[in-house]
């Protein structure tokens, strides 16, 4: 089948389909969002239904500093991909590394919080419904932060060894969409766990 059979009368075709990377990432985000929705629904459904203590209002402290860290990492990754788009790889590397640092700081905050809850308050995933739903929801989010960090570190290794160039800006932007999503999920988790549930 050849296009030469097309007669001169045929109108010319305008053609620019969307980029497959971002379409796929939007789909992945939709899938992840549905997974988180189920966990959030379970958390909300079980608020106040624990038969034994400890209750959230007794043991949870609002992690304002670490939340600031994670949310500002969205800003730094945005500046990073903007720098790469403009061809400034060095500036990209700086913003990218600060994103990793902020993400890692957030994870450290979660670890500290869990350490406190487990060893000081005696709350484990087996203790009561609050423990089960809290560790599952926050843990699922922390797992996503970890996966994101691993991906970010992979990119930073490529940068370190000089393989990253301006032409990779689109791929880096797809990855940063995932990071923004993980941050947005934290906003929901924060509101549900530390504001509504407490």
């Amino acid at each position: 089948m050849s296009t030469s059979s097309a007669s001169m009368l045929e109108p010319p075709i305008q053609w620019n389909p969307p980029a497959r990377g971002s379409v796929a990432m939007y789909c992945l985000i939709a899938a992840e969002a549905s997974i988180f929705t189920i966990f959030v629904v379970a958390y909300i459904f079980y608020i106040g239904k624990s038969l034994t203590g400890p209750q959230p209002q007794d043991v949870l402290r609002v992690p304002i500093f670490f939340t600031m860290c994670l949310l500002s990492s969205s800003l730094t990754i945005h500046f990073a991909s903007k720098s790469l788009r403009g061809g400034k790889v060095r500036s990209f590397a700086l913003w990218w590394l600060s994103t990793i640092a902020l993400g890692a700081l957030f994870l450290a905050g979660t670890a500290r919080e869990w350490f406190h809850l487990i060893y000081d308050e005696g709350l484990t995933i087996q203790t009561n419904l609050f423990g089960t739903t809290y560790y599952s929801l926050v843990g699922l989010h922390a797992f996503h932060v970890t996966v994101g960090l691993l991906a970010l570190i992979t990119v930073s290794l490529f940068t370190l060894f000089g393989y990253l160039r301006q032409e990779h800006a689109e791929r880096v932007e797809v990855l940063s969409m995932y990071w923004h999503f993980v941050d947005a999920v934290w906003v929901v988790v924060f509101i549900v766990v530390y504001v509504v549930g407490r």
Binding site: M1, S2, T3, S5, A6, S7, E10, P11, I13, W15, P17, P18, A19, R20, V23, A24, C27, L28, A30, A31, E32, S34, I35, F36, T37, I38, F39, A42, F45, Y46, K49, S50, L51, I125, Q126, N128, L129, T132, T133, S136, L140
Partner: protein, 558 residues
């Protein structure tokens, strides 16, 4: 055709590989056509396995107080039959056809992400193996039954450690988790392919309906299988980490599992049936020699079905004791979904109306589909009324209803699709006589089994019982139902024989045996690895018609 000018290394001209080399090629392939065929063969294998399980159940129920299998084995059979047929037959076979056909129909050389595609297939494949490994490894150290026996929707608290000892339920959870990730990967791939890989000129308004419907199916997979994944993770937390999500003694809720499962479970029905609609939407026009009636309405109705299907799940739970408002909402939303579905049926009928109908095997299956899907939809509307459902829930009436959908609608169009695209995939025609024999045998078997299965349901026979007392008026109906199963099994044997015989001995099919209009028929059968030597340009919904009839192309009218 400019394909002859380019010396591509094709499978015909290359020296034949030894068997191990060929096997290696198939195992490491990222070609969408080969992966599609792998999906389909894998699903056919499991179709036979799931069919054997169904036959075992029907032999057990052929007469009252029968002792063909023990109650424990019966429980395993209905669990494995349901799980196998949904997750390892219909979903993979639909993914297989989508894999094979979508890139060919939209003029692409492969899916958007070929390696993700291979990963997804192997996840699904190993998910199935994991499920069946439970027959070997399900005992654990406890000597507690092998294969899972909690039913395919695995209601809490049956799945708790207390009531489900050993590892059988863990195999069930893990296999669905693994194959679920595979399904999500494929779904992402299908959407990215349909949106981003279309050939020049194929706007969304010119997309073949099969591609549209499979993209809708993929969207449903993304939004529906993910909740199942989440629920399975919770169940794993309960079983392995001592969590209390579904532990009623610790304040957990068994009803929450029902909601989570059916949030997946009902859209899942549409995940299965929307690709079946896709087959009908491609086959009926070609064998009626008319363009599809109401293309934009078909697309809109499909999207409406996808949308509404997300809000009907609790009609599986009318007897659980929801509020009156909850019941009313789900009654109305369930009845509402009949409207876009009805629109589709009328559009297919209008496509046939005044057409020059060719009663080839694929068309026969699609015509039967129209009638049977209508009846399946009508019994669906009956059960959408909550008071009626209170009488019949968990009875054989329900079993008959959803088998009418899954066999009468989905499996029938699937067989149609097998016969319709077999020439494209194998390069050879199937045997029309055997195809018709398959159709009539299966039609008789289907109606014997599933028409008469409604009656013991209305007479009060509950589903999942392993035997029953004589003299309740169920005996004769169960006998007829089981007799129908043997007709269906015979039909399947004819089908498999037809596939095998035609693959080796069938007439050569040529590019376009049906004088069809979509792009897959513009290239050789079976298609070369690169699909299209020149990426086509498209100006209407029937690009091959335009090529065949340059004096009267479709884009003059669309």
């Amino acid at each position: 055709m400019s394909t002859e000018l380019i010396a591509w290394p094709s499978s015909e001209t290359a020296t034949p590989q030894p068997f191990v080399g060929q096997l290696h090629q198939w195992v490491t392939t990222v070609d969408h056509k080969r992966l599609g065929i792998l999906y389909i063969l894998y699903a056919l294998l499991f179709l036979v396995v799931g069919g054997v399980e169904a036959t075992i159940m029907r032999i057990q129920l052929i007469r009252p107080l029968n002792h063909f299998v023990s109650p424990q084995v019966f429980n395993r059979m209905f669990t494995m039959h349901g799980t196998t047929m949904i997750f390892f037959v219909v979903m993979p076979v639909m993914f297989g056809f989508a894999n094979y056909l979508v890139p060919l129909m939209i003029g692409a050389r492969d899916m958007a992400f070929p390696r993700l595609n291979a990963l997804s297939f192997w996840m699904t494949a190993f998910g199935g193996l994991l499920l069946y490994f439970s027959f070997v490894g399900g005992d654990g150290l406890y000597g507690a039954g092998n294969a899972p026996d909690v039913g395919w929707f695995a209601y809490a608290p049956l799945t708790s450690k207390t009531f489900s000892r050993g590892h059988s339920t863990d195999f069930w959870i893990l296999s669905l988790l693994v194959s679920g990730f595979g399904s999500i990967g494929t779904a992402i791939n299908i959407i990215a392919t349909v949106l981003c890989m279309r050939c020049k000129g194929m706007s969304l308004a010119k997309l073949p309906l099969l591609a549209w419907l499979n993209a809708t199916m993929a969207g449903l997979v993304i939004l529906a299988v993910s909740p199942l994944t989440a629920a399975q993770i919770m169940l794993l937390v309960d079983r392995y980490l001592g969590g209390q999500f579904f532990d009623t003694q610790a304040g957990g809720s068994a009803v929450l599992w029902m909601h989570f499962f059916w949030v997946f479970g009902h859209p899942e029905v549409y995940v299965l049936v929307v690709p079946a609609f896709a087959f009908a939407s491609e086959i009926i026009p070609v064998f009626s020699r008319k363009a599809i009636f109401g293309y934009p309405i078909m697309v809109a109705a499909t999207l409406a079905i996808g949308f509404i299907s997300m809000s009907v799940w609790a009609h599986h739970m009318f007897t659980v004791g929801m509020s009156a408002a909850g019941n009313t909402f789900f009654v109305l939303s369930t009845m509402a979904i009949a409207v876009p579905t009805g629109i589709k049926i009328f559009n297919w009928l209008a496509t046939m109306w005044g057409g020059q109908i060719h009663f080839k095997t694929p068309m026969l299956f699609c015509i039967a589909f129209l009638f049977q899907f209508l009846i399946a939809g009508l019994t669906g509307v009956m059960q959408a009324a909550a008071p009626f459902d209170w009488q019949l829930t968990a009875s054989y009436f329900v079993v008959a209803h959803f088998h009418y959908v899954i066999v009468g609608a989905i499996l029938f169009t699937l067989f149609g699709a097998f016969y319709y695209w077999f020439p494209k995939m194998s390069g050879r025609m199937y045997d029309e006589r055997l195809g018709k024999l398959h159709f009539w045998l299966f039609l008789i078997g289907f109606h014997l089994t599933f028409d008469f299965m409604h009656i013991p349901g209305i007479l009060g026979m509950p589903r999942r019982i392993y035997t029953y007392e004589p003299g309740r008026g169920w005996d004769i109906w169960n006998l007829i139902v089981t007799i129908g199963v043997f007709f269906q099994a015979a039909a399947i044997l004819v089908f498999i024989w037809n596939l095998l015989w035609s693959y080796f001995r069938g007439e050569l099919a040529g590019n376009d045996p049906w004088d069809a209009w979509t792009l897959e028929w513009s290239i050789p059968s079976p298609p070369p690895a690169y699909n299209f030597a020149d990426i086509p340009e498209v100006r209407s919904r029937r690009p091959l018609w335009d090529l065949k009839h340059p004096e009267d192309p479709d884009w003059h009218y669309e």
